[in-house]
């Protein structure tokens, strides 16, 4: 068959899919942290109270442990992890300092409204060594935030409270609209937590931090309703190629 020299068939544009924007964001952050030296680890989503609360210095009376905040399963034998921190506990029990690892994944809390979902994603990291201090934590957080939002972004550290870190801080960035937006929580690992994991807290200290993936993805992509991420609407997903 002779083919005319001017015939140029239309380009065959192959339909490509896309990563889910939450997984893409999670992977981006994990890869960034891995490039800083953190090892990637994993843990179960179904946890015990011991790992999810007790070992993290979250007292029996803490409101987060109530049935209205935490999903319990199997007649309260276990629970759906409320944060990825239990992975840090498992890691500290398995390994000896110095250690640096991150974990990311699904976590569950008993919320369901326009700004909160019963399932969402976190990335958490921990670094233990001798003489790890708050000034170093600040340096790490600056590096993370600058990598995510550019070096022009303004950020501030605020005192906060987490039972598993002391001192604790929350970090905000200044939006283009001039509003401070909370981005992550961090702090120095509470020596009680180190002791719980049989790590000598008079010799070692550590830093820990945690980021909510949905919140960062919403900011980076300009998504205003968190529920859009989980409708599996192709019109939504195809925007993130």
């Amino acid at each position: 068959m002779s083919v005319h020299k001017d015939i140029l068939p239309p380009e065959l544009i192959k339909d490509r899919g896309s990563l889910h924007p939450i997984n893409h964001m999670k992977d981006s952050i994990m890869n960034l942290l891995a490039s800083f030296g953190f090892e990637i680890t994993d843990g179960p989503e179904i946890e015990t109270e011991k790992f999810n609360f007790d070992m993290l210095n979250i007292k029996k009376s803490h409101p987060a442990r109530q049935m209205h905040d935490t999903f319990y399963v199997e007649n309260k034998l276990n629970l759906l992890r409320t944060h990825t921190s239990p992975v840090q506990i498992r890691g500290m029990l398995e390994k000896k300092p110095p250690l640096a690892f991150i974990s990311g994944g699904k976590v569950y809390r008993k919320d369901d409204d326009a700004t909160h979902l019963p399932m969402f994603h976190q990335v958490e990291g921990i670094y233990l060594d001798e003489n790890v201090n708050f000034a170093q934590l600040k340096d790490l957080i600056y590096k993370i935030i600058y990598s995510l939002f550019g070096e022009d972004v303004k950020l501030r550290f605020r005192p906060s409270y987490f039972p598993f870190t002391e001192p604790s801080a929350e970090v905000d960035i200044l939006s283009k609209e001039g509003k401070w937006l909370e981005i992550l929580g961090c702090g120095l690992v509470n020596p009680i937590v180190l002791d719980n994991c049989n790590i000598n807290s008079s010799k070692y200290s550590g830093l820990a931090f945690g980021l909510g993936i949905e919140r960062i993805a919403m900011l980076k992509h300009g998504v205003t309703d968190i529920r859009e991420f989980y409708k599996s609407n192709l019109d939504f997903l195809r925007q993130f190629k």
Partner: protein
């Protein structure tokens, strides 16, 4: 908690502006919003001591000269004779009672008390309850007022042993549960301790003799009670976070003082019970440790000055923690105090150097598979694990959000089928989805975790002119997966549509595979898709109906093919959502090329009309007709 700027600033010598005060509150970690001179404070749960004017002033004393010496009644008081028994002194290790009789209930309040209600737009109740509420605001210590005339018999504090009916002073009837801490008289509950008083002994506008209860309850005994019984209670909010166990005498003497400013006191007496001594928490002075924790270099003098201004006593090399700071126990806690005073933002960064990690990422195979699926037009989704139906291996959620989310899913495919139906209802004609997730099952109380990949596809193979008329089927999927990943098993199956509420007749093909079953051969796959370099800005999607139009062009001068495509693909209109070539045919015999374009119209805010679509289509046609030797067969018939 709402606190008026004017109520704070009257105790601060420097008379700071609201903005100055706000900045310092933020530095101390006390988040807030300001509206009409009122701070709407949000305290962290460890800082129950700040839930009052005095509490906040104690923290602000590190920046300002603060006067906390509100007047109190400082004369000797008679001992109150009260028939009281504490059967649960673990829950209530300290409690005091004050009895006051006045000659007449005042008709109006002095401005110092009245301003509390007017500035914060609060309703008044009755004289004694109003003072109690004000004192809670001023000192942080909730007190409860019983009408003394309604108290007869032995007052007992105890934890109840069986379900008991109780009517609150807000007329709400609740059934108290086992172990709730209460005050009772003659086996009748008159007060749910630390939460809300009872109707029967409540004060009224006529009450002239009151018994004021001032207690310390262990937070653990109070937590969750107001939520459990759906009671809004500021007292429980404070008791849950911990109150100052050593403030009772001062608070009750302040109560007397305020009463005396409004009425003649005919009689008053007081009694305090302490069942357990509270040891003072002592921490050695160790500025080196603080410097080591924070990575700073503060002098011991500065350190001790900051700490003492926050109310800590320093005695012979030891820091004594005040009774209102039950949250401070360790050097790390003291370091946080110093950091707050210095300002977290004023602590300089110190370079961190984490040793490089050489361990491989154990998700490499999973990531390869994800990109292989992207290359073939599949979209990654994430679904909630909560489902309404169960199998014998399902894990049951003890406290589900609702009955439709009572179990954890035992497969991913059913979630993908829901996603498919969702998209078919939005007129999507080519649907390819995948999800990788951990699946949890339970057998004989043993929980098993399996990581799985589920794939589902239905409709057209694709939207380009070669794929548009082909439908996805088992043979097609098996072929493309085998060609790319010959060593892996994908057992594609035709999935039933019977139970799906959908009009589409397209075959649904899917498979679900354990991630463990994949071999390292997957790593040899060379993907062409990449992770996006940027984070695309999202454009609001529309749930309004689509409208589609097809146009077929006949081209005799083949050099014009490109011009036609450029003309159409560059055409812009707000209603035109998508354009693609769905048909292309070269007819050698007639020396003609035919190209079919599909135009998809949709608005983000209106349901588009035929006329609107036709207007855009006519405009596109007019543009294309400017290109010579291109025609639209049948155009004259339109």
């Amino acid at each position: 908690m709402k606190i008026a700027y004017s109520h704070l600033v009257q105790h601060i010598e420097e008379n700071p502006s609201i903005e100055h005060l706000s900045d310092n509150l933020f530095q101390l970690g006390h988040e807030h919003e300001i509206e009409d001179g009122i701070f709407d404070m949000e305290f962290t749960p460890n800082r129950g001591d700040c839930l009052s004017i005095n509490g906040l002033l104690r923290d602000l004393a590190v920046f300002y000269s603060v006067n906390l010496n509100q007047e109190i009644h400082n004369q000797k008081l008679n001992e109150l004779l009260i028939d009281f028994e504490n059967l649960s002194n673990d829950v209530c290790p300290q409690i005091s009672f004050l009895k006051i009789e006045i000659d007449k209930v005042p008709a109006a309040y002095k401005s110092s008390l009245d301003n509390y209600f007017s500035d914060l737009a609060l309703n008044k109740n009755n004289f004694f309850t109003d003072i109690s509420n004000y004192l809670s605001y001023e000192t942080g210590q909730p007190t409860h007022c019983y009408d003394a005339k309604k108290i007869s018999g032995k007052l007992v504090f105890h934890e109840i042993e069986r379900e008991t009916e109780f009517e609150t002073l807000l007329d709400k009837k609740i059934t108290l549960m086992h172990k709730d801490a209460v005050f009772s008289i003659n086996n009748e509950v008159i007060n749910l301790a630390g939460v809300i008083g009872g109707k029967r002994t409540a004060c009224s506008s006529d009450t002239k003799t009151v018994i004021v209860e001032c207690a310390f309850f262990q937070p653990e005994a109070i937590i969750g009670k107001s939520l459990k019984y759906d009671l809004h209670s500021e007292a429980s909010h404070k008791f849950e976070r911990g109150v100052d166990p050593d403030c009772h005498d001062r608070v009750l003497r302040r109560f007397i003082k305020i009463v005396s400013e409004h009425a003649n006191i005919k009689d008053m007496s007081i009694i305090s019970y302490t069942y357990k001594d509270r040891p003072v928490n002592k921490i050695p002075v160790n500025v080196n440790k603080v410097n080591q924790i924070l990575g700073i270099n503060i002098s011991e003098d500065d350190y001790l000055m900051h700490i003492s201004r926050l109310g800590f006593d320093i005695n012979k090399g030891v820091i004594e923690v005040p009774s209102f700071r039950s949250d401070v126990k360790t050097q790390n806690d003291l370091s946080e105090e110093v950091a707050r005073v210095i300002g977290y933002d004023n602590i300089p960064r110190a370079m961190i150097d984490i040793p490089k990690n050489e361990k491989p990422n154990n998700k490499d195979i999973e990531n390869k598979l994800r990109f292989f699926l992207l290359d073939n037009g599949f979209y990654e989704v994430i679904n909630s694990p909560f489902v309404g139906s169960n199998s014998d291996k399902s894990i049951k959620v003890d406290n589900p959000l609702d009955s439709n989310r009572e179990y954890l899913r035992t497969n991913i495919t059913n979630s993908l089928l829901d996603n498919l139906v969702f998209n078919e209802r939005r007129q999507k004609d080519s649907i390819k989805l995948f999800e990788i997730s951990d699946i949890y099952t339970s057998k004989n109380n043993e929980i098993k975790k399996i990581r799985r990949l589920s794939i589902i596809a239905s409709g057209r193979v694709g939207h380009n002119h070669e794929d548009f008329s082909k439908k996805i089927n088992k043979k097609y999927l098996t072929k493309i997966f085998y060609e790319a990943l010959p060593s892996e098993k994908f057992d594609f199956q035709l999935l039933a549509r019977d139970t799906l509420n959908t009009k589409s007749k397209n075959e649904i093909i899917g498979c679900e595979v354990d991630m463990d079953s994949f071999s390292s051969e997957v790593l040899n796959y060379k993907e062409t898709s990449k992770s996006p370099d940027n984070f695309n800005q999202y454009t609001t999607i529309s749930d309004l109906p689509y409208s589609k139009r097809d146009l077929s062009f006949s081209i005799k001068d083949f050099t014009k093919c490109k011009s036609l495509q450029d003309c159409i693909f560059n055409y812009e209109d707000d209603l035109l959502k998508e354009v693609f070539i769905f048909d292309y045919f070269y007819n050698e015999k007639n020396s003609e090329i035919k190209i079919g374009f599909r135009f998809i119209f949709q608005s983000t805010n209106i349901t588009i009309t035929e006329t609107q679509v036709s207007n855009v289509m006519n405009s596109i046609i007019n543009e294309t007709q400017k290109i010579k030797s291109i025609s639209i067969p049948g155009l004259n018939l339109l």
